[in-house]
Point group: C2
Chain length 214, copies 2
């Protein structure tokens, strides 16, 4: 329910040609299809990318016409922000749960966190995959919003790294960048049915925990 993407209601119609955001709105009907629209958009943005997905594609995926989308969202960019926010929300929820589950030690907890991140990213959710696939700077007008959402999530991840028992010289920032980069890039080479997200998370964390050198 992304209020920020909503347009004004007919009673409060703005001057023609200008999209406006609404402050108050009557209760939505039970049969509205915002969720179908979001789901269709998430699926298409993930499959084809933002640029190669047209509003007509999304509309037809949700079983309606292109113009109707503008009742729920002010623009294509607004729709992307809504999908992106939902995606960040889902990743955050999954990772939060993994971070507060019982673990033998901070390293195992980090492994759980990585596994949850990877699962969301690779298999669980179209929304989550959009967060990784769509570059904020592809859409300059909302890029700031998108990066803000992403940064907020990364703090959850940082916390798991802050809890690690490292020796004094260790570089936690580099560790976070390296791990998160490796995880996010996996979207380009991952193929379902091979190594599971959980397995990959274990391998990556082990590489950092135990020295690879002989």
């Amino acid at each position: 329910m992304p209020a920020l993407a909503r347009k004004s209601a007919p009673t409060d119609r703005p001057p023609a040609g200008r999209a406006a955001v609404r402050a108050l709105r009557a209760a939505p009907r039970a049969d509205n299809r915002v969720n179908d629209v979001l789901a269709a958009a998430a699926r298409l943005f993930r499959e084809k990318g933002y640029a190669f997905t047209s509003m007509r594609d999304i509309a037809s995926g949700a079983g309606m016409l292109a113009g109707s989308l503008y009742y729920h969202f002010a623009s294509k960019e607004g729709l992307l922000v809504a999908v992106y926010a939902e995606g960040v929300g889902r990743i955050t929820a999954a990772v939060d749960a993994a971070a507060s589950a019982p673990a033998a030690d901070p390293w195992q907890r980090l492994e759980q966190v990585c596994a949850a991140h990877l699962e969301a990213l690779l298999e669980a959710s179209d929304y989550a995959q959009v967060v990784i696939r769509v570059r904020p700077d592809d859409v300059p007008e909302v890029a700031a919003q998108l990066t803000a959402l992403r940064d907020a999530y990364e703090k959850v991840f940082s916390r798991a790294i802050a809890a690690l028992p490292l020796d004094g010289r260790a570089d936690r920032r580099a560790l976070k960048l390296m791990l998160l980069g490796a995880l996010n890039w996996s979207q380009t080479w991952y193929r379902p049915g091979r190594d599971s997200p959980r397995t990959l998370a274990r391998r990556f964390v082990r590489l950092l925990r135990e020295s690879a050198a002989a």
Copy 2:
């Protein structure tokens, strides 16, 4: 000089409406502007991405008109393949040079390789940056060509990892995926003027070489 992207010459014109590849072509003139076109395309693909760059953008960047591009390239996709190939070539050249430079040990050699990879990726070349920025599956019709080019490069990288002295249980494949992922993803957070590619390479390799755990 991407022969595969060339269109047929007027003397060998194919049926209208069909693009064709040419086998033989007379010597190109010295004053042609293919390189300007490639450079403009590389710059724009890097800045705005493939989808958001129009043929008119590229043409104007090279100081000519959109239609003229089709004398040199059969399609927008063909132009992308040419840029991509040049990008892979440049990364490979830089990394090859780093790999054959003198090094104290295999780990230092790997660090040199990573630094060269990062420099190409983050600063040196528009062409190289396109290779990381543009997803092959964004352009289904040439995706296979693009991934083939990318895979060919990764073998150079794998060789540097194969030379590492690791203990028996170590997972070289995971190590390669992790390192390459971390390096490639850096394009999303790297800002010039902060840590140099060389510094980042040193940090990442050290995290793998020496255990981070206390």
